[in-house]
C-alpha cells in the first residue's frame, strides 16, 4: 500500500521477551494499558524492529509510563510535549524508529498544539493516543474527550463542554494516516503494523478502558455482545460491512452523508455499500465523524495516503543548502566587510575579497 516507503533497514530477529524491561509495571490491575503494552511488544518482533534503533517518547499521564516498560530507548518527557521532543529526536537522527505514546489529556488538552503541528509537518513516527475519556493519573477529572454530562470530581454536576474527536482532529490537522482500535482488540497488532509501515506521521487512536475512573465507557461497542453491531472494521479494497455482513455503509447521495443500509443475501454492491479506499480523504472525514449509535464505530485503518515526511524534507533541504560549501570556521568568523589594522596603526581600505559578500550589518 505504502508506495513511498523504502524499507531499507535490516530486519532484526527478536521475540516478545526481548522487549520487556526489568521494571515493575505500575498500572492499576485490569487497566487496558496492559493489553496495549502486550500488543506492542508482540508486534515489534513481527515488524523486525531493532531495539537499539527504537525510541519511545511519552508525555505525562498513565499512558506515558509506557516507555519504562519497553526494552528500547525511552524518554518520559513533560506534559503534552512528547511530539516536540520526538521532533528533535527524529531530526537529529532520522534513522531512529520513533513511537509517541500519549493520552487524551496529554495529547489533546495540554499538548493539543503539538499534536496538530507534528501531524501537519508529517514527522515520520507512530503516535499512539490512548483515549479513555478521563484523567486517570490525577484521579478522575473529565478530559477533553469526555462526553457531555460526565460527572467527575471537577464536574460534580456533569461536564458542559463538547468533547474533542481525536481522529477528526488529527485528520483536520493534516494527518496522512488515521487508524482506530481498542485495547483488547485482536486486530490491534495489525493496526500497529500498518502504522509502522506508513512513512510519515501515523495517528492511532486506541480506546482504552480505565477501569477505575471511567469503567466500560466504550462497552457499547467493545463488549463481545455489542461487537457485531457496534464495530465496523475497515479493510482497504473491501466493502464496509458489519453485523456479520447484514449491514453496510453507503453514501446517501441526496444528503451527501453516510448511511447504514441493509445487505440482503450478501449483495452489498446492490445495496450501494462503499468499498473502502484508504486514500479517499473525503470518506475518511465522514468515517471519523460518524455518530456512534446511529452508526457503528469505524475501526482499523481509516486513512493511509503517504506524502514526503518532514525529517526527509529537512535533511534534503539542509543538504541542498550546504552543497558545494566547505565549512571553514575561520572564513565564517571573518565574513562581511573587513578591514586590516597594520602594525603602524594605520588602516587599509576594505578587504576587497570579503567586501564582495556584502556587509552584514
Amino acid at each position: 500500500m505504502n508506495d513511498m516507503t523504502t524499507l531499507t533497514k535490516p530486519r532484526v530477529e527478536t521475540v516478545l521477551k526481548d522487549w520487556e524491561t526489568d521494571q515493575e509495571v505500575r498500572w492499576c490491575p485490569g487497566c487496558g494499558d496492559y493489553a496495549i503494552l502486550k500488543a506492542v511488544q508482540r508486534t515489534l518482533p513481527q515488524l523486525g524492529a531493532d531495539p537499539k534503533n527504537t525510541v519511545f517518547v511519552s508525555g505525562i499521564g498513565c499512558s506515558s509510563r509506557f516507555p519504562y516498560y519497553v526494552e528500547s530507548y525511552g524518554f518520559h518527557t513533560i506534559h503534552g510535549r512528547a511530539p516536540a521532543v520526538a521532533t528533535g529526536v527524529k531530526l537529529a537522527n532520522p534513522e531512529l524508529d520513533v513511537w509517541i505514546v500519549t493520552g487524551d489529556g496529554d495529547g489533546l488538552s495540554i499538548g493539543g498544539n503539538h499534536t496538530m503541528h507534528i501531524l501537519r509537518r508529517n514527522l515520520d513516527c507512530q503516535i499512539l493516543l490512548f483515549n479513555n475519556e478521563i484523567y486517570g493519573l490525577t484521579k478522575g477529572q473529565y478530559s477533553p474527550t469526555s462526553r457531555e454530562g460526565t460527572r467527575s470530581p471537577s464536574t460534580p454536576a456533569g461536564s458542559i463542554d463538547h468533547p474533542a474527536k481525536p481522529a477528526a482532529f488529527a485528520l483536520g490537522s493534516g494527518a496522512r494516516f488515521i487508524a482506530r482500535a481498542y485495547d483488547v482488540a485482536r486486530q490491534l497488532p495489525d493496526v500497529l503494523t500498518a502504522a509502522y509501515n506508513h512513512k510519515g506521521a501515523a495517528f492511532v487512536e486506541i480506546f482504552q478502558n480505565c477501569i477505575v475512573y471511567n469503567k466500560d465507557v466504550f462497552a457499547d461497542f467493545t463488549e463481545k455482545k455489542n461487537a457485531d453491531d457496534g464495530q465496523l472494521w475497515l479493510e482497504n479494497g473491501r466493502p464496509m460491512l458489519f453485523s456479520k455482513g447484514s449491514k453496510g455503509i453507503a453514501l446517501d447521495r441526496e444528503a451527501l452523508a453516510l448511511k447504514v443500509v441493509d445487505v440482503v443475501d450478501g449483495d452489498w454492491a446492490g445495496a450501494g455499500v462503499i468499498v473502502h479506499d484508504v486514500t479517499n480523504r473525503s470518506v475518511a472525514h465522514m468515517l471519523v465523524e460518524m455518530p456512534f449509535g446511529a452508526f457503528p464505530m469505524a475501526l482499523g485503518v481509516v486513512y493511509d495516503d503517504p506524502i514526503a515526511s518532514f525529517e526527509q524534507a529537512v535533511v534534503a533541504q539542509n543538504a541542498q543548502l550546504a552543497k558545494g560549501k566547505m565549512p571553514d570556521l575561520q572564513k565564517l568568523v571573518g565574513q562581511g566587510q573587513t578591514w586590516t589594522v597594520s602594525a603602524r596603526e594605520e588602516t587599509d581600505a576594505a578587504d576587497a575579497g570579503s567586501a564582495g559578500s556584502g556587509p552584514e550589518l
Partner: protein, 623 residues
Amino acid sequence: MASAASSPTAPLITDDTVPDAVVVRFAGDSGDGMQLTGGQFTLSTALAGNDLATFPDFPAEIRAPQGTLFGVSAFQINFGSSDITTAGDAPDILIAMNPAALKTNVSDLKAGGLIIADSGEFSERNLVKAKYDHNPLEDNSLSRWQLLAFDISALTLESVKPFGLGNKEALRCKNMWTLGLALWLFDRDRQPIIDWLHAKFAKTPELAEANIAALNAGHAYGETAELAVPVKQLHLPPAPAQEGLYRTVTGAEAISLGLVAGAQLAGLPMFFGGYPITPASAILHHLSRLKEYDVTTFQAEDEIAAIASAIGASYAGSLGITSSSGPGIALKGEAMGLAIMTELPLVIVNSQRGGPSTGLPTKTEQSDLYQAVYGRNGDAPMPVIAARSPADAFDVAIEAVRIAIQYMTPVMILTDGYIANAAEPWKVPDMSAYEPFKATFLDHVPEGGLKPYARNEKLARPWIKPGTPDLMHRIGGIEKEVNTGHINYGPANHQAMTELRRDKVLGIAKGLTQDIAIGEARGKLAVVGWGSTFGPIHQAVRRVRRKGHDVAHIHIRHIWPLPENLGELLKGYDQILVPEMNTGQLKTLLRDQYLVDAKPLNKISGQPFRIAEIEAAIEGMLA
C-alpha cells in the same frame, strides 16, 4: 569616548580642535530607514578605522502611524580615535527627519550641539502629529543648539528626478541623501556604500542608481552649499588598535557564530529550535543560513516546542540549542527542569528585554537574572553566563557550549536587547587558538554494567545516544535513582540526587577566577557589574580614577555559579556598588552569597546607563 561626553560644547562648529570622539544620532519615522542609515554609517566608520559603539532604538510597532511620536526610530553611534565602549551619553549631532523625531530626541542633545533637520517634513500636519503648537525651526525654541534646517525632501526629489520614480519611492531615498551629507561631514569614502547599494538592489538597478544619486547629492550638498551655520568637515584619525583583521559584529551575530564555533569545537551537529520573538529572532535568522556547518534549524510552533525539540535533539546526540527573550524563557521553564533532571546538554540564549509580561519588547533591561538563576520549580540548579558586549558574546557562546557538554547540563546565556542589536568592531579571532573540547558518547557496556546515571570526576553522567547497541535505557522527568536512573521516589535517594545536581553545577566554579577589569584587588570601592553595563561602568570608573579616586571595576561573566574567588575579592573593598538595569538582582545575589553590603544603582527606563549617571553614583559613595 570620554572627551566627547565631557567636553562642554559640541565639536564641529567653528572650534578648531579635532575631538577625540563624536556621538551622532539619526532619528526619523520608522518608515524612514534610520536603522539602515545608521548601519551603513557604522560600516563606513569601521572602515575609517575609528573605534565605535552603536545603540539602535526602535519602536515595538512594525509601522506606527507616520509622523507620530511613538513611531520614531533612532540609531546612535559613538565613534572616535580612542577606545569606545558605550554608545555615548549625549549626542553631538542630531539628524531629525521629521518633527516627531526632533521632539523625542532633541532634549538629549548636548548644549551647543548640531541639529540637522528636514524642513520639508515640518508641515502643519506633521507638527500637529508631533504635538508642536509652533514650528520649532522658526520660533527660536532651539536656540540652545546650532540649527541646520533645509528641505531634504525636496533636494532628494530633485536628485532622483532622472530615474522616473513615483513620489513615494523617490522620497524613500531621503535616508541615502542624509547619509551622503553625514559621510561628507566626516570625510568618508562613499564607495563601500555604493557597492552595498548595488548589491542590495541587484534586481532593481534603477533603485540602486536612484539611491546612489541621492547619496552623491547629499555629499555634494555638504561640499558646495553655503551652510547656514559654519559647520566644517571633520576627520577623526583612526583609533589605535591591535594589529589584525577586523569586522563589525552585532551581539546576535556573535552569539550565532560562537554557537557554531562551539558545536564545531565539540565535534557535534547543532540543532537549533526557536520561536520568533523580539529581540532574539536574529539568532534563528543567522543560524538558518549556516547549514554547511551541520546546523539544523527548526522554527517550532511555540517556545515550549522550541526547547523541547532541542532537548530531544540533545538526547539523540546533537547539541541542542534554543533561544528566546523574557516571556518566552518563562514558557520554557518546565522544559529546563526536564533537561536538568535528565542531565542533557542544552544551551538556552536569553536576549533580555524590558518586562514583566510583554513589557518593552524592543527596549533593553537586565531583569531576567532571577529568572535565569532561580526561575524554575524545585531545586533546579543551572549555570548562567552573561555577555558584556556584542563581541564578547562570541566567547560566551563557546563557553556555554563547553560547560553544557562537559557537565551534561543546560546552560543559560544572558544577553540583552542592547547587545543583540548593537554593533562594534571585532578583531576576527584566530580559530586555531581555541582548544577543542570533543564530546564523547558512551558506546559500550562499561565494567560493572550499564549505569545511565553514573558520574565522572565532574559529576557528569554519560551521554548515550539512541542507536547504540546494548545501552538501551529509559530517562525522564521523574526523580532518578542514583546510578541506575530508574524511577525512585525514595526520601534518601531524592536528597542524594538533589545534592548531586547542586554539587555538579557548583563544581563548575572550580578554577573560575574573577578578574578585575580596572583597579586593584583591595580598595575603597568596587563597582561590580554584569552584562551590557560594561561600557558605561568602565568609562565611569576610568573617569573617577583619573580624578585620583581609589575605585575598581569588576565585571562578572559567570553569574551562576559565581567564580570561586569572588567572595574573597569583594571582601577586600570598603564599599561595593552594583549598577544594574533592574531593581537590584545581582546585588541581592551577592549579598546572599557573600554577606557583603552591596549597594544598588538601578535604571529601569529601557535605556542603557549613561556614564555620567554611574560617575555621579561613585562620587556620591566616595564623598
